[in-house]
């Protein structure tokens, strides 16, 4: 009897259990669908970049590639800028030193003339008694070959032209970089956020970065700092070379030697003019008291003739040497000026390149870290 009752109630219990299981499963499902969020696949962390108003999304590896590309591009640009500046310096110095060389014959004519000889003797004599600066002699001679004003003007023109060329070069550099980056990013375009959508700002706005870069470059190249070092070079630097070449000496001792040489010349002239004066006195003797004046004039004439002959002799013996020496001095000065200017521009370009490199690293390294892009829930949906 009990077994029959148990057999009768067992299916009922089983069905009841199934019913409870079904109810429990349904309740569990409702709880799950209302409490568990679906998993979202975000992929590798990506970085949003804005370039020319267009948005791109890059993976960290691509950001690093962009950073390397930028560093290499601007480093190559710096080398090109150096070559450009070197060519500009070369052309400007060629022009200014060609003019200086054209002045050498006139300078030599002046140098091997009585006027030039007496002017140097006068300055040397004045230096002996402290009335003249002996170094001024060489400086004046140098200024005739390479006028200070012309040198300064030429350097100013060089600086302006170099700044203009560098600005154009940098502009081309940025344009080339922009084109290269745009080509690389072409397949990574993403749409701009919809109006009203709440999205995190892009990690890197290259448009702003480029504008900032251009502004800083402009201010860096606009500063007149390159000419400062180079203006010290010029006629002032040429003077010692000229002094060495032409026998100008600086200082009182040199002045004394110059004066002594002048005195010796006077003595020699006097020795030579003695017989001429005696002859002159003999010629003038019939004139009585006028003979003294006649003798002085004849002596002065003999002095001048002697000096003229000595200058001509000096010219014949040394003009070619002096011309070559002056040419070499100008060549040395040109090399020195070129080196100084190149060093000044190198320093400027190196500073600028270091700044650009720092900017690139400062900008791209945080961008490479990236940030995970999580689309807002309101962007996705069904229905109209």
């Amino acid at each position: 009897m009990a077994a029959t009752a148990s057999a009768a109630t067992s299916p009922y219990r089983g069905r009841k259990g199934e019913a409870f299981a079904a109810l429990g499963a349904a309740a569990a499902l409702v709880w799950l669908v209302t409490h568990v969020e679906p998993l979202v696949w975000s992929g590798p962390p990506e970085t949003e970049i804005v370039l020319d108003g267009t948005r791109y999304r890059l993976e960290p590896e691509q950001v690093r590639e962009l950073e390397v590309l930028s560093l290499e591009h601007f480093a190559a640009g710096e080398d090109a800028a150096r070559a450009l500046v070197a060519a500009q310096i070369d052309a400007r110095l060629d022009a200014v030193f060609a003019r200086a060389r054209q002045r050498i014959p006139a300078f030599l004519d002046e140098h091997y003339s009585l006027r030039g000889e007496y002017a140097r003797a006068l300055v040397s004599a004045g230096a002996l008694v402290g009335l003249a600066d002996p170094s001024g002699l060489a400086e004046r001679a140098a200024a005739k070959l390479l006028p200070e004003q012309e040198w300064a003007d030429e350097l100013a023109r060089l600086e302006a032209a170099a700044a203009e060329r560098l600005a154009a070069h940098r502009e081309r550099l940025r344009a080339g970089w922009l084109a290269e980056v745009s080509a690389r990013l072409e397949h990574r375009r993403v749409p701009a956020p919809l109006p009203g959508a709440r999205e995190a700002p892009p990690a890197l706005v290259i448009d702003d970065w480029l504008a900032e870069l251009a502004a800083r470059e402009q201010s860096a190249f606009a500063v007149r700092q390159t000419i400062g070092a180079a203006t010290a070079i010029g006629a002032g630097a040429l003077a010692p070379a000229l002094a060495r070449a032409a026998g100008f000496r600086a200082g009182r001792a040199a002045a004394a030697r110059g004066a002594a040489r002048g005195g010796a010349r006077v003595g020699a002239a006097a020795g030579r003019v003695g017989p001429a004066a005696v002859g002159g006195a003999a010629v003038c003797a019939p004139g009585g008291p006028v003979a003294v004046i006649c003798a002085v004039l004849a002596g002065a004439g003999a002095w001048l003739a002697s000096d003229w002959a000595l200058v001509r002799l000096d010219e014949a013996l040394h003009r070619d040497d002096l011309e070559r020496t002056l040419d070499a001095a100008l060549g040395e000065l040109r090399v020195r000026a070129e080196a100084e200017l190149l060093a000044a521009y190198d320093a400027l370009l190196a500073r600028e390149q270091a700044r650009v490199e720092s900017e690139i690293r400062r900008t791209f390294v945080p961008a490479a870290a990236g940030r995970e892009r999580v689309p807002s829930a309101a962007e996705k949906g069904k229905g109209p």
Binding site: R15, A22, P38, S42, G43, L194, K380, G383
Partner: protein, 268 residues
């Protein structure tokens, strides 16, 4: 034809389990590799195809029983041994694709409550319909008739609920953007681990964007315009396809106990 309490529970349990599987596809859909996603799609396709096959065979058997003499050779030709499975398999594959993509993209929790509730409701509706129609419909066709009645009633309620939820859901403002940007934005927002899954999600997102953009461009102001009606008809059609594929997926839980000849429901 009978239906026991226990077998209903079993069917409900099976239907809830199948709904739970659909929810798992939703939860893990974006992070599944293509192979696993394909396996999920295959399971759902088999389920839908099996249900379609069962219903088609029941219909065909009822047709043959009603219109073809018992000894006729036509019954062998009309049994549809090849065409019905092929057609069911194709329908299963297609509807499973629609269902998997829709399940992964369905984000509304309320919509998921509707789907979860729809599973036991379909089973119970089927049992009620079978009981109500058993006095009027031939036993061979009764499972199909009961399925149609239950699927129509439950499906209509689900569609109404989903459309109501869609009506109140927030949408991005596409009024001031072009179609290309709208579609691009929607497509770009879809991310999935599997490349194929991502492409399917993006295609669905593009369709959503197109519909949403057209709705906001052609129907700027709510009102009784023809364009607005067409827009909501499109929503209705989309939800109908989604609900139909979901109910078809649950069909084995409903018809699982029906014998081939349709002589019993529940198997007890």
């Amino acid at each position: 034809m009978t239906s026991g309490f226990g077998t209903v529970s079993r069917s409900v349990l099976l239907a809830v389990a199948m709904a739970g599987f659909a929810w798992l596809v939703h939860v893990y859909g974006c992070v599944l590799p293509d192979a696993v996603a394909a396996a999920a799609w295959l399971i759902i396709a088999i389920s839908i195809g099996w249900g379609a096959l069962r219903r088609a065979r029941l219909r065909r058997a009822a047709f043959i029983g009603a219109y073809v003499r018992a000894g006729s050779g036509l019954s062998r030709w009309l049994r549809g041994r090849l065409l019905i499975p092929v057609r069911s398999a194709l329908a299963g594959a297609l509807l499973a694709l629609v269902l998997v993509v829709s399940l992964v993209r369905l984000e509304s929790r309320e919509a998921w409550v509707v789907l979860a509730a729809g599973a036991p409701a379909l089973v119970l509706g089927f049992r009620l319909a079978a009981r109500a129609l058993s006095a009027h419909i031939a036993s061979g066709y009764l499972p199909v008739a009961a399925w149609r009645a239950a699927a129509s009633a439950v499906g209509a309620l689900m569609i109404a609920a989903l459309v109501a939820l869609a009506f109140h859901a927030p949408y991005p403002d596409l009024g001031d953007v072009g179609l290309e940007r709208a579609v691009w934005h929607f497509v770009d927002a879809e991310r999935a681990r599997g490349a194929t899954v991502q492409i399917l999600l993006q295609l669905a997102a593009a369709a959503d964007a197109l519909r949403l953009w057209l709705a906001q461009q052609l129907m700027p102001a709510p009102g009784a315009s023809m364009a607005e009606a067409l827009g909501w008809l499109a929503v209705l059609a989309e939800e109908a396809v989604f609900v139909w594929s979901y109910l078809s997926y649950l069909c084995p839980a409903v018809l699982g106990g029906v014998t081939h000849g349709g002589d019993r429901i529940g198997g007890d």
